[in-house]
Symmetry: D2
């Protein structure tokens, strides 16, 4: 599968990276930050791996399947944490994470 074929996955990864970083940024400004500690941590993990995989796909990495498999797991864990919280940024992030997990599974 060439990078052209990965277009929808790249889009999902990019949107997830953005949603996770927005959620991270917003969580750090919340009054109930103590409750958001795990969300902050997973937002960073998820943003970093999505940004990494996005770039790896675009450069034609030979390890697309293996990396997408890990990324799907991280997206799911981040999505499950985010969906526990009522903040709008968390709910949006959960949605982006689950969509990205699905896109990753189609590559893995």
């Amino acid at each position: 599968m060439s990078h052209e074929n990965y277009q929808s996955a790249i889009k999902a990864l990019h949107e997830c990276m953005e949603a996770c970083n927005h959620c991270y940024d917003a969580c750090l400004q919340e009054d109930d930050i103590k409750m958001m500690a795990q969300c902050i941590r997973l937002d960073r993990e998820c943003a970093d791996i999505c940004g990494y995989l996005e770039q790896a796909l675009v450069r034609g990495t030979p390890f697309a399947a293996e990396l997408a498999n890990v990324c799907a797991k991280i997206c799911e864990d981040c999505g499950n944490e985010c969906k526990k919280h009522d903040h709008d940024h968390c709910q949006k992030c959960a949605e982006a994470c689950f969509q990205c997990a699905d896109a990753c599974k189609s590559i893995a």
Copy 2:
């Protein structure tokens, strides 16, 4: 300036990261790869800093101006190398680099 205000820069950074990685991937498959060595090197440098800055802007980095200043310099050097080569991927990459350099200068 919040991440909403950075939308056009983020788009330019993303397109430049993609163009540089495509050019890198294609250069590694060219018959005249010896002539492309500097292009391969600068494509990686430029893709990496664009991917970095894109993510930093989205997470609300306090160092947007300083990072954008470096990124503009790297984009320009990569664009100047790419435009020397007739390959379609090099010409497209040069264009993306110069557009991204402009976008970075508007932040820096």
Copy 3:
């Protein structure tokens, strides 16, 4: 200056990346996390740029001076935030940040 000449800077960058990530991890577990929000944010910024520059120096980046200049600024800001907090991980991080800032300035 080749990567051999950068050995002491690479060591300082690596120790700063480690100290910032330890501090980030520890801050997320502190009871007074609300007071640590800016420290968490700057720890990530500083760890990311130190890891980036370390790798760039090792691969012989042509942009060592420009990147080191930005990194010095980020290390200083992170160190100044960390030194405000009494936690042992913050004090250690501040020290690593200031040493790394000095190492970066010697390249920039």
Copy 4:
């Protein structure tokens, strides 16, 4: 396993990241660069994932095992490519890759 327990893996990852980037840099300057194209590509893949995992371990990532599993695979493939080439930088890189693959397997 805390980051203290990961010390030997972090050391192996760091040495592998350095060896891969040195090999990448040297390959781009070889006369027989055409034969080194796959080595250049895998050096970047391997350096990037080793740098990523090193930082993830230091920040206490909850995904150490999954990431180490992918990293071991990438290190092995890079090591197998490098060991085909007589250049000193390739032979040294192969050795670092195989040691790092072993360290990753002990985490995965």
